[in-house]
Symmetry: C2
Subunit: 257 residues, 2 copies
């Protein structure tokens, strides 16, 4: 997929194959996190004096985003920072991304919602147990950052989906937008058959990536550092799919600006 | 596995299950890198004026290590930095790791060898093609850093293997060490049956993680962003296994100091 050609970026088949590839990244990152216990202190404000007003995770995520911004990560239309105020001027020359999305797209950012959902629902569900593992705070935070960035990229890819759907059916879409008909837009962008297929596929992927060919054990038999395929399905059902649709709706509602 | 108890850290079964778990991390990281083209400019000195004397990868790796050192990553006996001179004082209180390894262990560091092998052999072998993808320099470097850190941790785990083997057969080992008999040590620590099993297992894992259940395509049919299982076997055969043994030998040769 040539990312620099608008017609290719907005081709729904290309978007879909990017989304399918991102499933693997998300699964890998969550399986990595599942090795470690919950370690709630990582997410608790004031756990470490030296990190000021930030939690351990927030501190590392901010530092990471600062560094990545110097390498122009957030110039890319498919990247959205968690901490806008932590970003720096890029050290590298700008890349000329084509104008594929509407200019207000950078204002649509669900990351605080994603972060909250990740800490409150996903970590307790997937971690290896409820305990603290101080010797693994760093490792588990690294996994958290990877997973959060992957989830964020996947969910905000809804902007490309929305733009593509808008162009496919401009007349009908414009009508709903003018009427501020959120429900109508939601219903137009929802494809139950596609969603069902996504859930089926991620369950199968989770089963395949969870298999330990050495012992032939699957998750239910408590292989080390693995993840329940049902958890992945739940994450797609309760977070990734609805949050993506929220991005699409927010994007579309402003599309006639 | 309770990492903080020496007798558990040096239990060969525990070491082996950690090594097996690390196979997954390495595989995930390499599969992630395999999405992108080679992008040789990332590894070339002077490609970007603003990054001074460092390549893009080196710059990001140094910045990453600086940040991680503040969070005491390199206090952990199983972590070794690529750029010692980039490290900072930890911001967090020290963790009291038990003295499991000999004190000179931090001087054994094969990272420059690992970095060279990774750039010259592994990247060309696994990347999606030979081209430059400027819009993915950041993403592919993130994958490189993950993969390098995973390879480094896996290879330097040889120190734990060596210490454990030393304690198992102290008399024989001491004799070889006193005689500076590198070949003898190498032969004592080499277990061809175990190596064969490792190669068989990583091939099977690569096949399982490469499977796209959606299309039922495997690597040979060019699924997007996948990796040839034979490449993983080659990386274990020509890099991970021999480099780990090199770490073991270097560690053992000084064990009577």
């Amino acid at each position: 997929m040539d990312f620099l050609k608008p017609e290719s970026v907005l081709d729904l088949d290309n978007i879909r194959s990017s989304l399918i590839r991102m499933e693997d990244t998300i699964l890998f990152d969550l399986i990595e996190r599942a090795q470690f216990h919950r370690s709630a202190r990582v997410y608790t404000y004031g756990s470490f004096d030296s990190l000021g007003k930030y939690s351990f995770l927030e501190w590392m995520l901010r530092e990471t985003e600062h560094m990545h911004s110097e390498l122009r990560r957030y110039e890319s239309p498919d990247e959205n920072p968690f901490f806008e105020d932590a970003l720096a001027e890029p050290l590298l020359p700008h890349l000329n991304y084509p104008d594929v999305l509407a200019t207000y797209q950078k204002e649509i950012n669900l990351n605080s919602l994603i972060l909250k959902h990740y800490i409150e629902s996903i970590v307790p569900m997937i971690s290896a147990g409820p305990n603290e593992q101080p010797e693994n705070y760093g490792s588990c935070t690294m996994c958290d950052i990877q997973a959060l960035q992957a989830l964020s990229r996947r969910i905000h890819f809804g902007k490309f989906v929305a733009e593509s759907k808008f162009r496919q059916d401009e007349e009908k879409m414009a009508e709903l937008i003018r009427a501020k008909d959120t429900e109508g837009i939601l219903s137009l962008i929802t494809k139950p058959a596609v969603e069902k297929q996504v859930l089926k596929r991620v369950r199968e992927k989770a089963e395949s990536y969870n298999l330990d060919p050495h012992t032939n054990l699957r998750w239910s038999q408590k292989t080390q550092g693995k993840i329940n395929p049902e958890s992945i399905v739940e994450i797609y059902e309760n977070c990734i799919i609805p949050f993506t649709k929220e991005v699409e709706v927010q994007y579309l509602l402003r599309r006639l600006e």
